[in-house]
């Protein structure tokens, strides 16, 4: 235990260490993409950051035309969006594997459509590879390091509560919502009515995305999925074509009871 910081000044150990820093001395190098809060909490949950890991893919997303008046999934686009993310994730996992990691925390998955070329997008997955201080295995049933898009704070709480992340699971569905038929839209002018085929289309699309995510979690033999985000991403296909994307972290129980220490209530005095 270091001495507690007092009015006397900075802990002497800290100043000594900084004063003694020499170029090229043998150190245990790591880099991390985490914030300071996340870094300290990940350390406290018994994990050591090994390094920032990253996977990327620049992907040409194909083309598929939705029928004007038909609700349908554009499976060419769904496949592209899924496959490209998968490539980025797999490459990130491969980097973590090289580092001998038990898992990857704080994963971010971003898509950026590029200005040049036609329908080119960069898919990138970034996270911090971590290794457990203990000896127990944290890898999932596919033998890969676990992945989690939870923040360091959520990760800490999850471990405290007796759960372990297995892997990020996701489902994608690019859906074309039918336009209204001419006479239907004429008949609806000036009225407050539900447009049933729109409602149905959004139901179908979300359901497809979520069920694909659930199927992935079942493959990992997960107990559940936490931190699920259900996003509608318009990308660049116009108003009637949207990607519905479901993503979350599949978890397994570490122990039978899942109680955590009762948190104390605080009233922050900052804005």
């Amino acid at each position: 235990m270091t001495e507690t910081p007092t009015a006397q000044g900075v802990p002497a150990d800290a100043m000594r260490r900084l004063a003694e820093m020499r170029p090229g001395q043998k150190t245990t190098l790591f880099t991390s993409d985490l914030s300071v809060n996340e870094f300290l909490l990940v350390r406290e949950s018994g994990f050591r950051p090994l390094g920032l890991v990253l996977g990327s893919s620049i992907y040409h997303v194909g083309f598929q035309l939705g029928r004007w008046n038909k609700n349908q999934e554009l499976d060419v686009l769904s496949t592209a969006m899924y496959h490209a993310r998968e490539l980025a994730m797999t490459r990130m996992e491969a980097e973590a594997d090289v580092l001998g990691a038990d898992g990857i925390v704080g994963v971010r998955l971003d898509i950026e459509f590029k200005e040049f070329g036609s329908d080119l997008a960069e898919f990138v997955a970034v996270g911090t590879a971590v290794k457990s201080d203990g000896n127990d295995s944290w890898r999932n049933n596919t033998g890969k390091p676990f992945t989690s898009d939870l923040s360091g704070q959520d990760f800490w709480t999850l471990i405290q509560a007796g759960y372990a992340p297995l892997g990020m699971v996701m489902g994608s569905c690019v859906y074309h919502v039918a336009h209204q038929r001419f006479w239907q839209s004429m008949g609806n002018i000036g009225q407050n009515v539900e447009i049933p085929q729109f409602t149905e289309a959004l139901y179908d699309a979300r359901e497809l995305a979520m069920s694909r995510m659930q199927a992935e979690a079942e493959q990992l033999q997960a107990e559940g999925i936490v931190g699920v985000q259900l996003l509608s991403l318009p990308h660049k296909w116009g108003g009637h074509t949207t990607e519905f994307f479901a993503i979350g972290t599949a978890v397994r129980p570490l122990r039978a009871d899942h109680t955590i220490a009762t948190p104390q209530l605080v009233l922050p005095l900052t804005d």
Partner: protein, 294 residues
């Protein structure tokens, strides 16, 4: 006022340091929680410090991709600014960026040293385009001094805010220096790249562009990691990682793509001796909703 020769501090900054020495008036760029944070681990804010450099980047390097098989089907390769044996790439440009950031940081540290500080926290680094090919590099931060005990010959620098510095020191880690990793890479659009990225190509990964961004990022990360080992630190916390990719056409019908990656962060050194860091967090539940805190 005599012309300044570029060594040491510019006359205006030197005058400010002299005034500080006489009056002892303390200034700070820290937020209230940031100031309270550094105070809690034994530092006192001394003054705001700045380092600045305007540099003309007149020569970016021979921007060629090193590809000579014009019209041919031979695959091209990615050339990064770190490649030594190649005449291609953007090494002079990357060197100029490094010189800009490093000079700005060094001048800021010189100011901090003149104030008798032990570190500079909450450093903001920026590179602004000015007219023509000129660029202004600025480093702006708050110098802090150990309230009692040992002082450092060379102040540490960090882009972390005061609160984070306090949390790190409380957990047995000391911020050491700002780390920078920059790389630029270029790759010729070979036949395969062109055919994978045309309108009718269907769903396919564009392997050339993927290789380009993977190489440039990995090179920038390597250079960032070198900043950690060269300084003798144990690790680093990345604060910002950017990627830009654009198209150039050095000659008719010859297209290349250029990618630039920058990584910024703070290197940290461990000073606690036990196995685990001496943290003990308290689980608290703030009494406000998430939307309020934004």
């Amino acid at each position: 006022m005599p012309d300044w020769d570029g060594t040491g501090l510019p006359p205006a900054a030197a005058a400010r340091m002299d005034r500080f020495a006489r009056s002892g008036l303390r200034t700070s760029l820290l937020s209230v929680p940031g100031a309270a944070g550094v105070e809690s681990v034994g530092f006192t804010p001394v003054g705001e410090v700045m380092g600045c450099m305007v540099q003309q980047i007149g020569w970016q390097g021979y921007g060629g991709c090193g590809y000579y098989g014009y019209g041919g089907y031979a695959p091209s390769r990615t050339i990064t600014s770190t490649d030594r044996q190649s005449y291609a790439g953007y090494r002079p440009y990357v060197d100029a960026l490094y010189r800009g950031y490093r000079t700005a940081i060094a001048r800021m540290v010189t100011e901090a040293t003149r104030m008798g500080a032990d570190g500079v926290v909450g450093v903001r680094l920026s590179a602004q385009h000015m007219t023509g090919s000129n660029r202004e590099f600025v480093a702006l931060g708050t110098a802090v001094r150990n309230r009692a005990g040992q002082h450092l010959e060379k102040p540490f620098t960090t882009d972390l805010p005061g609160q984070d510095v306090a949390k790190l020191i409380g957990a047995g880690w000391a911020p050491a220096a700002i780390g920078i990793g920059i790389s630029v890479a270029v790759r010729h659009d070979d036949y395969r790249t062109r055919s994978q990225s045309t309108w009718g190509a269907g769903n396919t990964e564009v392997s050339g562009y993927t290789e380009l961004v993977m190489h440039v990022r990995s090179d920038a990360r390597h250079r960032f990691e070198r900043a950690v080992t060269d300084g003798g630190a144990d690790g680093a916390i990345v604060s910002r990682m950017t990627l830009n990719i654009w198209e150039i056409e050095p000659s008719d019908g010859h297209r290349d793509h250029v990618a630039e990656s920058q990584v910024f962060g703070t290197t940290i050194a461990r000073f606690h001796r036990g196995e685990a860091a001496p943290t003990s967090s308290l689980t608290i539940l703030p009494l406000r909703s998430k939307t309020e805190s934004r």
